[in-house]
Structures are given as C-alpha cells and as structure tokens.
C-alpha cells in the first residue's frame, strides 16, 4: 500500500484541530462536527428556535471559503450543477436527520471514537452498512445524472453565502441569535476551517469516499486520511487529557438508533457522492449540486429540531425514530427509481 501524503496530512491536521478546538472551547466529545455546526448555524438564522443551539459556526464558513481560495489559485474554480438538484436537497435533509439522531456527522463520529466514546462505534457500524447498501444501488445503475457547466456567477453563490455569514458573525446584528453555547475563539475556528478545507480541496479528503472506495474497488487512498484523523485526534486527546474511555457526553447509548441514524446518513451520503464536510468543500469551488445539498442539510437541521426528531443523551424521541424509518424508505425509493440509461 502506497502512502498518499496529501490525504494523510489533511486527516492528521483535521484530527489535531478536533482535539485542539475542543480544548479551546468547542463542545466536549465533539471538537468539530459539520452537521452539528450547520444545525447551530440554522439556529442563529432562526430556522429552529433552540437558543442554546444557535451560533454561526466559523468552521462552516472556513469549510466553504478555504476551498474557494485554493481553487482560485489552482484555477480549478468552475461552476457546475444540474444533477438532480431537488433530490440532492431532500437527501441532504434526511442525511442530517439521521446524523442528528446519532448525534454527529462522520467526522464527529471519528472524533468521538478518538476520545474513547465507544457508543460511536455503533454509529460507525451503521455508517459502513449504509455505505455498503448505497454501493449496491450504484452497482445496479443508481445515478443522479450528469452535472453541466454553468455560468460562473452561479458558482459564487455558496462562497458569497459564507461571506454573508461571516459578516453576520462579526457584526452580530440583533436579528441573528447567538445563544449560550460553547465555542472556541472565532479567529482560531475560522482559520482551522480554512486550513482543512484548503487541504481537502487538494487531497479530496472525504470520510464517505474513504470507506466507499475501500469497499468498492479496494482503493485505500482516501481511507488513509480517515486513519490519520483517528490516530492523530486520539494522540492529541491523550496529550490534552481529553481521552475518557467509556465516557459519552452529548451522545446516547441506544444501539438501534446510533446504528439506524448513521445507516441513513451513510446510504444518503453515498448517493450524494461525499460526506457533509466534502459537500461544503465542493460547494466552495463552484459545485452548485454540493451547494444545494448543504442548503438541504441546513433545512433538515431546522426541521429536525422544530419537529423534535433529534436525540438527546437521555432518549431518542418517537418522532426521530419515525423520521429515520421514513428516510430509509424514501432513500430506497430514490435508489430504485433514480436511474439514467448509463
């Protein structure tokens, strides 16, 4: 197996930031979570009304804009889109509901394991099975269709959304909600987001792609990044006194729903072609299909809290369980019926 240093470095830097940002104030057993941070951003924009989960997360802004900067330097910025946009929006929303029933995106899941939270292994199992099932749909012809080249202005929508969020974060106008929430210093969070996004733009780091390519074609290129993230986050957690075996803050111990939530997320993310973080990175360099997916995730996060779908450390609400089952049915229908002649 040939080491692929670009993706290993991306994973290692991400792993270090997971632990460091937690030490600097981000929520415990989290550090960074693409979905939870979108949820907090949704709260700040009043897409849900839970004040203690409302804050425009600078990491999200960095995840989008880091790749914009690098893509402009490398001349890879290119507006594309039109591949089943509305289905991507819906799948993005269901993926978010699944992740919020588990309580984390695939990156937080790895971070939880690296901090000794073994309940996240249940989520990992669900994610892998979900990816496996998603691959079976790909093998029998599932396809969201081709993307086209688009006018360049379209590709700038998500970078400008991110710039708008940054302005709101810096100016803190009264109509934006900044709740009592744990967060690391703004500038450090923003720089961390920019760095990992810039690195990922070059290396194509993706948690879903890592597991998918390993199962599908035995390719370890992206998987090496996941291992690097896990190992480095674990080492930093040990150094910083954040490794607590068996401890699971902001998580729950219900196997079926840890598994089910991440099964739904894994299945949907294979259909979308990349993890939530990767969707944000791609949206930064002009991929409007990824952009609409991120907006679907933002919508899903609002929906999840407004309709009491989200798990808490104490319980998984019945509404959340029903939403997972509905999501699995919808995604299976999409998998069966979304095919092109290719």
């Amino acid at each position: 197996m040939k080491p692929n240093w670009r993706v290993i470095i991306t994973g290692a830097v991400f792993g270090a930031f997971l632990a460091l940002l937690m030490k600097l104030g981000n929520p415990p057993n989290m550090g960074v979570c693409a979905i939870c941070f979108l949820r907090d951003t949704a709260g700040a924009l009043k897409l849900h009304t839970i004040d203690k989960l409302s804050y425009i997360r600078p990491e999200i802004i960095g995840f989008i804009l880091g790749s914009t900067v690098i893509a402009l330097i490398t001349k890879e910025f290119k507006a594309t889109g039109g591949s089943s946009s509305i289905l991507r929006f819906i799948i993005g929303a269901f993926v978010t509901i699944g992740a919020l029933v588990f309580l984390g995106c695939p990156i937080r899941m790895l971070g939880r394991i690296a901090g000794g939270d073994w309940t996240a292994l249940e989520g990992l199992l669900g994610l892998v099975v979900g990816i496996f099932v998603g691959i079976q749909f790909l093998k029998v012809g599932f396809n969201l269709g081709r993307a086209q080249s688009l006018p360049n202005a379209t590709g700038w929508v998500m970078p400008f959304v991110a710039i708008g969020l940054l302005i709101l974060l810096l100016t803190k106008p009264g109509f934006i909600i900044f709740g009592p929430i744990k967060y690391a210093p703004l500038i450090i969070s923003l720089i961390a987001g920019l760095i990992v996004s810039g690195l990922a733009q070059r290396s194509r780091f993706c948690t879903i792609g890592g597991i998918r390519d390993l199962i599908l074609i035995g390719d370890t290129y992206l998987f090496q990044g996941l291992v690097a993230l896990l190992v480095v986050a674990c080492i930093f957690n040990l150094i910083l006194g954040q490794f607590h075996p068996g401890s699971s803050p902001i998580a729950h111990p219900y196997f079926l729903w840890n598994f089910g939530g991440m099964f739904l997320a894994g299945l949907g993310l294979v259909m979308l072609g990349g993890c939530p973080f990767r969707q944000m990175v791609m949206s930064g360099y002009g991929n409007t299909d990824a952009g609409i997916t991120v907006l679907g995730m933002l919508f899903g996060a609002g929906l999840a809290h407004n309709f009491n779908l989200v798990a808490s450390p104490q319980s998984v609400p019945d509404n959340g369980k029903m939403a997972i089952l509905l999501g699995i049915i919808v995604l299976i229908l999409v998998g069966v019926f979304s095919k092109t002649k290719e």
């Binding site: 591949s83 790909l138 093998k139 969201l144 998918r212 390719d219 072609g273 990349g274 299909d289």
Partner: protein
C-alpha cells in the same frame, strides 16, 4: 477495439466504476472523457494499480481524454 466512456459531469465514484466494469468485460484499451479532477485521479490510480498505463490529453474545451491501455 478501443472502448469509449463518457464520464463528463458524473460524480464519483461513477467514472471509476464504469472503467472497472469495462475492464472486467475484457477491454484492453479504453478512452474516458472526464472533466472532474477527482474522477480523473481515481481512474488513474485504479488503472495503474491494475496493470494499465495512462495517457491524459487535454482537449481544447478543457475536457480530458484519459487513454487507458494494458501494459
């Protein structure tokens, strides 16, 4: 005979899946049209790992023609 695959606009992993399927069907020479850097990198890695050599040409419209031939 050279097999042709049009992978333009397709997101990962479809381009590399189509290449794998074509190779599994016994093709020894394939030309893939692709426009996504990640897809081209995936195809290149997969082909090289399976004993094929790669030649990439950039067309005037920016699309890459990836020529895959058995070593």
């Amino acid at each position: 005979m050279t097999k042709k695959i049009d992978a333009r606009g397709l997101s990962c992993p479809l381009p590399v899946m189509f290449v794998k399927k074509t190779i599994d069907m016994g093709a020894t020479a394939i030309t893939v049209l692709a426009d996504e850097t990640a897809a081209i990198a995936n195809i290149q890695r997969f082909a090289e790992q399976n004993g094929y050599q790669i030649e990439i040409e950039t067309r005037t419209d920016g699309v890459k023609a990836v020529k895959i031939t058995k070593k």
